[in-house]
């Protein structure tokens, strides 16, 4: 699926969605129906894990062999010795190095900007009273499910007008628009920020800006972290808009992968080496913070 970095939200789970399920509560959650899994259940689940993981393993195998190895029957199923050589080839042929740097800049800027914009707006929608609040929130939520892909033509005309084609801001600025993020932060703050806290601060004479930075942000931090993770992954993997707005002169990783697959590199093992390099950063994030990402998706989940 190739939505821009703007995933729609799952229906807010009626369950005790907020807060990590502690060990004591775990026994009661899962509908209390904690049947023990039998051997068959484990077998099916492990099979599913293997199917999920196999393409990654295969990428490593194919990226560490020569093209001739890959054309052998029977195919070799263990990694070979040519990984470094293939990395060098793809760095030289497809400029993956620049693509990685660009992707880091683009995804990093989108993440920081989105989290900031969405926390500000989410706070206002959750806790401030102003005219038109309901209507503005309705517009935000109402457009959440419309795929941004449908707007790419006027968007392209716009950035062509601004002379932004092939410049990173053409991907960064539209990437900051996350209706989902606003909704997510609003829900988070409605649940976790008590009104009494804000009232007390107001009685003490704190301005709204002061309240935002010294009360809201510290409380919102876990929600901001989850939103940041999901935004980073979505931005890193975004495909349609970057290949429209950028070219091989200023590629992100996905643009470079598209060129690799576009036929001018014929060496399959080099293509696989590029795929591996382009996927590693996001796998790294996933490996370190996978548990948080799983939690974020299950809490009120997301699709990218």
């Amino acid at each position: 699926m190739t939505a821009l970095a703007d995933p729609p939200a799952a229906p807010p789970a009626p369950a005790p969605a907020a807060g990590p399920p502690g060990p004591g509560r775990r026994r009661r959650s899962g509908a209390g129906r904690t049947l023990k899994a039998g051997p068959l259940a484990y077998a099916v689940l492990i099979l599913a894990v293997l199917v999920s993981a196999f393409p990654f393993y295969w990428t490593i195998v194919a990226a560490s062999r020569t093209n001739a190895d890959l054309a052998q029957v029977p195919p070799s199923l263990v990694p070979g010795p040519h990984l470094i050589r293939n990395f060098e080839a793809v760095l030289a042929e497809a400029d993956i190095g620049k693509a990685l740097l660009n992707s880091l800049i683009v995804s990093g800027s989108i993440t920081v900007g989105t989290v900031l914009c969405c926390t500000l707006a989410g706070f206002a929608f959750a806790k401030l009273r102003f005219r038109g609040r309901g209507a503005l929130l309705a517009i935000t939520v109402g457009t959440m499910m419309i795929p941004p892909q449908l707007g790419v033509i006027p968007l392209f005309m716009l950035i062509a007008e601004l002379q932004w084609v092939n410049q990173l801001q053409s991907v960064i600025l539209p990437g900051l628009v996350s209706a989902f993020g606003v909704f997510f932060m609003r829900q988070y703050l409605v649940q976790s920020l008590p009104d009494e806290l804000i009232e007390a601060a107001r009685v003490d004479g704190a301005s709204t800006a002061r309240i935002f930075w010294s009360i809201v942000v510290p409380i919102a931090r876990p929600g901001m972290a989850v939103l940041g993770l999901l935004t980073f992954m979505a931005a890193w993997n975004d495909f349609f808009w970057p290949i429209v707005a950028l070219s091989s002169q200023e590629p992100t990783v996905q643009v470079a992968l598209r060129q690799l697959g576009g036929g001018y590199v014929h060496d399959q093992s080099v293509i696989m080496a590029g795929t591996l390099l382009g996927t590693l950063p996001v796998l790294l994030v996933f490996g370190l913070l996978g548990r948080q990402i799983v939690g974020g998706i299950m809490q009120g989940a997301v699709k990218g």
Binding site: M1, T2, D6, P11, A13, G30, A31, T34, L35, K36, A37, A41, A53, P55, W58, T59, A62, V73, P75, L120, A121, A124, K127, R129, F130, T140, T143, I146, G151, V152, I153, P154, L155, A160, E161, P174, L176, V177, A179, I198, E199, V203, A209, F212, N237, F240, V253, L257, R258, L260, G261, G263, T275, G278, T279, I293, V294, M298, A301, G304
Partner: protein, 315 residues
């Protein structure tokens, strides 16, 4: 909305007028950054698409627009490849969405048991979701290779002759759908799992007292309890399926979706018209058709869901 706003603090009467005025305006400064970007890069392009679709606009000079009325739409309806793309979008949509959601439901049911290593299992199943469309497709394109692909080798071991995953209509569509299924099944399983965990345990206890078997409990407690979640995943997957683009583009690297357009989707057709043939106006018309298609499909889903739940209630 049940939000209480503490804006009217006890100190109100003593405030100077300037400060009060600022308090009325200041909430807008919090939503302003988002809405400025949203208006420029989100809402405007979506709405303007309809206007562009009534004009001739070419990629070489996107600044000049020439009124064309419904010309782009009639041209579309007269193009056989539009109909091919529409048909392919439906068949690939079914081939990817149905197995994906059924398998996700089964996996979620298993994950809802008491398990060792549950965090590991959940995380591992979400791994494909973290992969980009481009990376996944390049790897699967390799695995689906006709002559040296691993899948054909394994099929050969069980006596099934080499399948041409690229040029056959059904086979290529199955291959493209496989990539979608691989990327999204685990994600949907976690969504279903979250839904299952919110079903009150009393319902299961009551069913158990009535002597309902595990199997009957799944069909009469779990599935009805999951209905809103299932509707959500069906809607999101349907929208995703109408937008399918990266997988067919990178499967062989061509914009036409195979030599005879056998797996070209509407998303890819739009891209080909706009950035392959330079007809941005025509591409905008396709985008608008896709939007209407989504509205119809989502509306149909909601209608079916409502009718079903009414039937249940009447029983």
């Amino acid at each position: 909305m049940t939000l209480t706003a503490p804006a009217k603090a006890a100190t109100a009467p003593r405030q100077p007028a300037l400060r009060r005025a600022w308090q009325a305006v200041s909430p807008y400064t919090y939503v302003a950054p988002f809405f400025t970007l949203f208006a420029a890069f989100g809402l405007f392009p979506l709405i303007y698409t309809a206007y562009v679709s009534l004009h001739r606009v070419e990629l070489q000079d996107p600044g000049s627009m020439e009124w064309r009325g419904l010309g782009n739409y009639t041209a579309l309806l007269g193009d056989e490849f539009f109909w091919t793309a529409l048909r392919n979008t439906f068949t690939i949509g079914l081939l990817s969405t149905v197995p994906q959601l059924v398998m996700a439901l089964a996996l979620a049911h298993l994950l809802n048991h008491r398990l060792r290593g549950r965090t590991f299992l959940r995380t591992a199943m979400l791994l494909p979701y973290a992969t980009s469309v481009a990376a996944a497709t390049l790897v699967f394109a390799q695995l689906f290779g006709r002559d040296f692909g691993l899948f054909n080798y394994v099929l050969g071991l069980v006596g099934v002759g080499p399948v041409d995953w690229q040029s056959g209509t059904l086979s290529s569509q199955i291959a493209v759908s496989t990539i979608v299924v691989w990327r999204w099944t685990g994600y949907n399983a976690l969504i279903y799992l979250a839904g299952m965990q919110s079903i009150p345990s009393e319902l299961y206890e009551a069913a158990e007292m009535d002597g309902a078997s595990r199997w009957r409990q799944f069909f009469h407690v779990t599935l009805p309890g999951l209905r809103p979640t299932i509707l959500f995943t069906v809607v999101v997957s349907t929208i995703g399926a109408t937008q399918l683009f990266g997988e067919p583009l990178l499967f062989e690297g061509s914009m036409s979706g195979g030599i005879s357009h056998q797996y070209q989707t509407l998303g890819l057709y739009m891209y080909e018209q706009g950035w392959g043939f330079f007809h941005l106006g025509r591409a905008a018309a396709i985008a608008w058709v896709m939007f209407l298609l989504i509205l119809v499909l989502v509306g149909a889903n909601a209608l079916i869901a409502r009718r079903r739940s009414r039937k249940e209630a009447g029983r």
